[in-house]
Symmetry: C2
Subunit: 476 residues, 2 copies
């Protein structure tokens, strides 16, 4: 391995290859600390060309390449495998790809390096009078490249779509070191397969993304935020549909169940948002439609919806922030009472009620089957796009029985086992719950076609046995 | 071939396999009549399962499959090759896949069969109080499947994106007869490579699309349409940027050059739209932003833009339609004076001025180099997304010199040789002008991985020599 480190130092510069085991261990551990692996070194190239050279160098030594952005994923997708199949792993960090071009106001697009953080991108867009459509809690660490590779979501997905909808082009390095893609940002038309869209959500298994051309949006400040007490998620879904009929442009539509609201109130010391407690809470943020911010008009329209009696509407910034705090502080509140199983699933909106009706029983059965005590269940998430975060406290963090049971339940309701966090290493075994075997076969064919040696991010996305198969047919 | 026809009749029903040469010839000819090929029969299966069986039957006989929707493409992508490499071709029409499910208002999505026309889909969405985001002149014939396969655009691309942006899922049959995809319509999240997005724009070379889950939009009637006289496309682009700064939500932004406007006035007998003639005309349609249709507010905002003195703003439906007629009647006006070379290209918006500045010289050189008389050049198109339709009259329709020169010019300005019509058979030789060799190689790897026998739409998208290469390695 000494030679590979030396070669990588010659490519990226001596300062940009870290081989101290303690330092490498930090990069090889997931943000959740639930996933950790082992790597020989961390290389941080400064250009696309250096990344191509680094990948080719790794291929020459039979070493696997683990692309890493902000390392804020929650499913182990940006760290090396825990069990090596004998090959060395090199973590390829994109943190030095921080170039950020001036915003082009005519196309409403910007070109950003893969290592630019979402927070910096958002500030850059705002300085040009525009907005980046994806925002998420990890904005200070999560990167352009990482969020594209995982098709990251967030609270504004209902309005602007997930990261996929922002990508107007990208540059990436394939496993053979070839550079593909375009930054021309053309939204009209077609010249063959859209490789950029294939790479969105490919979780580092097909290429290392180095630059992206991203769509920006006109700014839309919030005109109002409301929280409505409901009888549960089915009622919240119904209410949301009525609200969207009269106010189509919602910036966010979130759900918090009774257990989640009680916990966040308790931990954060917040007053109740509504007069009485409820089974579930719908939080809606309404856009001040471009240039016509008229709160009265919104309120009149909301009046026609038949909002529940126990609804609070905030119209000024402080009051809006106060309502958001119930949703924004849930994750930290949960962290104070233990290490939860966080199961990120998507379910078609019409099936959310039935999914949640089954959830408690499924969780209890899964937990008791593993000899655990009574579980604590908290459900919240991006209701407007059917993306729920199911949190279960009680079972040992290493016991994935409840995670699997919830993923299976989502799939049985027509949903998917992974949503805004992706498959990573955590969910490869469950891919078949919600994807047709033919889909997985087609994915595998594409993976083999573009990365025949299984060089990029082995063990991510595909079940490990497939990677092992691959390793035996390695041609490098 | 007799056996294949019999097998296909057994699969799809005797009435749904047409083998009369005169009838087949009609299906084997492109809407433009510039492209025609030869096929043994036309099969119109009624279900996804029948399509899978039909593809497998064709594979068994070594026959190629040419998927066909409305056959309204303009680049020969939906008809068989003119020169056979010895293999029979079967046209697989999706016209019987006309199922249209009820609109789901909660997800704002609908499931439609591949053979549903865009006009029928639009009516269906409107009946549910929603709108389909893509509209195009061929709406009465163009189908859901065909517009997905070509990533069709149209006048609303600036607002809703091309067809790609509408696709929330699809079902398709691969070359091996396996059925892939999902209609769950989940917009949040990622469970591996997005096969649906890979198939958008793949022009029938990877799969036959049979059903799609499509996003619908809230209706946005037009509040105003304006035509502004400008000094040319650079000025029109600049003006459009200013308008978008104050009114972000434009439904359309079209360009018509002086020659185009003069011709359409002449042929259609229309009065001039503006007081004086100009080098170029910007036509803008402004959405009545959801629920707050206030023409005065728009006009006040437009006042801040510094519109050219010679601008006409229409606020009522008849006046808006009158302004649109200059744009909508251009294609028929051009058809009255000859068979034009129609070159559909996309150019980054900031480069449109430079592209058009070079265009006349490039066209003249290309035409004179081929011994033709003075050409007539008309430029119009979807300015807001950089998609221009360059029309050249004069050169013999069979002489593609000017088409190639214009495609090359677009590429030299950072644009692409194809836009909303795709590559088809017409532009395969020019793919490399605007795509990196590595991109084409990656596309070819994916094509080989999913269709190793080159069964689906040979000669489309990839240069013919590649298909011939493929034919020699055919494994069926």
């Amino acid at each position: 391995m000494g030679n590979l480190v030396a070669d990588l130092r010659a490519i990226a510069g001596p300062a940009h290859v870290l081989a101290d085991p303690d330092v490498v261990a930090g990069y090889a551990t997931d943000w959740t600390r639930r996933y950790t692996g082992s790597a020989s070194c961390v290389v941080s190239p400064g250009t696309t060309a250096q990344i191509a050279e680094a990948i080719q160098a790794c291929a020459g030594y039979g070493a696997r390449v683990i692309p890493q952005g902000g390392n804020t994923g929650l499913v182990g997708g940006s760290i090396p495998p825990a069990q090596s199949d004998g090959a060395d792993c090199v973590i390829l960090s994109t943190k030095r790809l921080t170039a950020l071009c001036p915003v082009d106001p005519r196309s409403r697009q910007v070109t950003a390096g893969a290592g630019v953080t979402i927070a910096r991108l958002a500030d850059h867009a705002a300085a040009a009078g525009l907005r980046y459509g994806v925002d998420l809690a990890s904005r200070d660490s999560a990167t352009v490249g990482g969020t594209i590779a995982t098709n990251a979501g967030g609270i504004h997905t209902i309005r602007y779509g997930p990261t996929r909808s922002q990508v107007a082009g990208l540059i990436a390095v394939l496993a053979d070191g070839s550079v593909v893609g375009s930054l021309s940002g053309l939204t009209a038309g077609s010249t063959g397969f859209d490789l950029a869209q294939l790479l969105v959500g490919s979780e580092g298994t097909l290429a290392v993304i180095t630059e992206a051309r991203l769509a920006l949006r006109p700014p839309e400040p919030a005109a109002a935020v409301l929280i409505a007490g409901t009888t549960g998620i089915a009622a919240a879904t119904e209410l949301l549909a009525h609200i969207r009929e009269v106010i189509p442009d919602l910036l966010a539509a979130e759900y918090i169940d009774a257990a989640g609201l009680a916990l966040v109130r308790d931990v954060a010391g917040l007053a109740p948002p509504t007069a009485d407690p409820h089974e579930g809470y719908l939080l809606v943020e309404i856009a001040a439609t471009a240039g016509v911010p008229d709160p009265d008009a919104y309120l009149q329209r909301l009046d026609t919806v038949g909002l529940p009696a126990d609804t609070v509407v905030a119209l000024d910034a402080n009051a809006m922030a106060a309502l958001w705090s119930y949703r924004e502080r849930i994750t930290e509140a949960i962290a104070t009472i233990g290490m939860p199983h966080k199961i990120d699933v998507a379910v078609p909106i019409p099936a959310l009620g039935a999914f949640c009706a089954d959830l408690e029983g499924v969780v209890r059965d899964a937990v008791h089957g593993h000899g655990n005590s009574e579980p604590r269940l908290i459900v919240f998430g991006h209701l407007g796009v059917g993306n729920l975060h199911v949190n279960v406290l009680g079972p040992d963090p290493a016991d994935t029985g409840v995670d699997e049971a919830v993923a299976r339940l989502a799939a049985s309701h027509g949903g998917s086992v992974a949503a805004e966090h992706g498959i990573g290493r955590a969910k490869t075994g469950w891919l078949a719950f919600s994807s047709l075997a033919a889909d997985v076969d087609a994915m595998r064919s594409i993976k083999t076609a573009l990365d025949p040696a299984g060089l990029l991010n082995p063990g991510v996305l595909f079940p490990p046995e497939i990677q092992q198969q691959r390793a035996t047919t390695r041609t490098v």
